[in-house]
């Protein structure tokens, strides 16, 4: 990718030029490189190392427990709830959020008067932080003040003052709804960007052949949009495994761990109970799950010719 000229130049100047280039590169790279190593690579390696110990964060690492932390993680029912919740976020996002975003993108993505305004509105929640989104919806879900106190109470009386975030049966889905609200605009915008890359001529040709809106989208647009869809699915999957802020803002995974995610679980063990060895093991599990799902996904989509 890099311009061929650099190679030529260094050949022209021979050894001296090469050395000079190396010095220049070192000058440019050294500070960013040190930063990257100190704050990214080193902590990741340390997490792998800590995960083999029972360690409270103070004093030397002496209590080597091998893979015991990992066995404990998978034996813990709370972790299993957390893992299941993350998987549910992944799957429900693919089933509900992305189709919704795609549907909206197909409608407003091309030849739609006022599309700019609709796009701006749909994207708005994405620029708000998860914390703000979470607190806004905590208010709306609030049984004394929120929406069910006013609207739902009239429509469905038994839902009056129902604590959506206070019940273990509804808390997860209530939070998931907010995740859709916050992120559907992002995926919509990605799809719109993909749609703009599809040549108008294809569409014109199909239109002359008399296909209708559904046929057009199903047989012509969607196949061409595949690379964009693959990308948005990838973002959605990887992001789903990192869910923390919103769950934390909407009740910290409670009640009875019903809304726990892997990262809130890690946070609780790492920073509230100061089990840094165990917490690191959870971090490594999160990383390995994300990585392997990501790799499998990439392999599957690559085999389909992308």
């Amino acid at each position: 990718m890099s311009p061929a000229k650099n190679t030529k130049e260094s050949m022209k100047f021979g050894k001296q030029g090469r050395l000079r280039n190396t010095m220049t590169a070192a000058g440019f790279l050294c500070v960013p490189f040190v930063f990257y190593c100190v704050f990214v690579i080193l902590p990741v390696l340390q997490a792998a190392w800590f995960s083999l110990f029972k360690w409270k964060g103070l004093g030397p690492l002496t209590n080597f427990v091998g893979i015991n932390n990992f066995l404990k993680i998978f034996a813990d029912p709370v972790f299993r709830i957390a893992l299941m919740n993350n998987l549910k976020i992944v799957i429900l996002s693919l089933l509900i959020q992305l189709p919704l975003s795609l549907f909206i993108a197909l409608i407003i993505g091309r030849r739609f008067k006022g599309a700019v305004i609709y796009r701006a509105i749909f994207f708005l929640p994405y620029i708000l932080s998860e914390v703000i989104a979470g607190v806004i919806w905590s208010f709306i879900y609030n049984p004394q003040i929120g929406i069910q106190n006013t609207v739902l109470a009239d429509l469905i009386p038994f839902l009056a003052s129902f604590p959506f975030l206070g019940s273990q049966h509804t808390v997860f889905y209530s939070i998931f709804f907010v995740l859709i609200w916050k992120y559907f605009g992002l995926h919509m915008v990605i799809y719109i960007a993909g749609l703009q890359g599809i040549s108008q001529e294809v569409e014109e040709a199909a239109r002359i052949d008399g296909v209708n809106w559904w046929q057009m989208n199903w047989y012509i647009i969607l196949p061409l949009l595949k690379p964009t869809i693959y990308l948005s699915v990838f973002f959605s999957i990887v992001g789903s495994f990192q869910t923390f802020d919103m769950v934390w803002a909407m009740g910290r995974g409670e009640p009875v761990n019903a809304a726990e995610t892997m990262v809130t679980y890690m946070y609780k063990f790492g920073f509230q109970r100061f089990q840094l060895g165990y917490g690191s093991a959870v971090a490594i599990v999160i990383f390995l799950i994300t990585l392997s799902v990501g790799l499998i996904y990439n392999k599957l989509t690559a085999e389909k010719g992308e």
Binding site: P32, F39, Y118, I136, F244
Partner: protein
């Protein structure tokens, strides 16, 4: 209107889209209007127009003696500005080296940077905390800024490198003839030509830093260091029974992001999606 689409379908589309748009906006408006209501009205009349209009909620939040809002705002701004500034400098330097300079081991080093794309901050957060403690960076803004910069770096370097690759070689030849050093070439020629990508890098860093909660939550424990998302959480905890006041705080906390969005919407949407899609 197009063939195969009659008027009623078009109307149905607008009705549906408008419905979704209202559904998207209604929580935001509910919060902003709620901030102007009294607690009694909020309880009884969620959707009504504020009556009487309670300016006092907003004024209380804005009063530095009574609320930490301004302190939070300043803290978030400082962290964001520093994160963006350092990020732009670092990603330009590294992107330039990987794009424009030929040195042994270049591909390996670049690959080593790209590995960072695999690690979400959550993976490193516990050891990072231990490290920041040892470096005396807890309760220090730079304890948030520096890791934020480092974690954003791999993606930023990927963006700058591929953009710098497109800058014509002739420019560099001319610059070399004029005895212009690589560093000067980067500062005076490459960076001004790279405004689009540096805008993307900045916007990604701005939004990431402004909305970050996880890292500040660990690093900044004293209230005087709190950022806006932390302020929202702690204010809500503090005034759990005074929702109008909390809603006023949330509304004011949303304003900088919404204003910025309204002013730079095109850049933000392109930056956040184009930056990813083009790769």
């Amino acid at each position: 209107m197009t063939i195969g689409e009659n008027k009623s379908i078009l109307i149905a589309k607008y009705v549906l889209m408008t419905f979704f748009a209202l559904l998207t906006l209604f929580p935001v408006f509910l919060v902003i209007f709620g901030g102007f209501k009294s607690l009694a009205q909020l309880r009884l009349d969620l959707f009504g127009i504020p009556d009487p209009v309670m300016w006092s909620n907003y004024l209380d939040v804005l009063d530095p003696k009574r609320s930490v809002f301004f302190k939070n705002l300043v803290n978030s701004t400082f962290i964001m500005v520093m994160t963006v500034a350092i990020g732009v400098v670092f990603s330009s330097l590294a992107g330039f080296a990987f794009s424009r300079i030929d040195f042994p081991g270049k591909e390996i080093f670049f690959g080593f940077f790209l590995v960072g794309l695999l690690f979400p901050p959550a993976v490193a957060i516990l050891p990072l905390y231990v490290e920041l403690k040892a470096l005396h960076l807890l309760n220090n803004f730079f304890g948030v800024i520096l890791p934020q910069v480092a974690f954003a770096l791999p993606f930023q370097v990927m963006l700058t490198r591929s953009f710098f690759n497109q800058i014509p070689v002739e420019l560099e030849e001319a610059a070399t003839l004029d005895n212009c050093s690589s560093f000067k070439f980067l500062i005076f020629i490459v960076m001004p030509l790279s405004k689009p990508i540096l805008t993307t890098v900045s916007i990604l860093a701005m939004v990431g830093s402004w909305n970050n909660y996880f890292l500040p939550l660990l690093v900044l424990n004293e209230e005087r260091f709190f950022t806006l998302p932390m302020g929202v959480m702690s204010f809500q905890g503090q005034y759990i029974y005074n929702w109008p006041l909390v809603l006023a705080f949330i509304s004011l906390a949303m304003i900088p992001a919404i204003l910025f969005y309204m002013l730079a919407q095109k850049h933000i949407i392109e930056g956040l999606t184009g930056g990813a899609v083009k790769q």
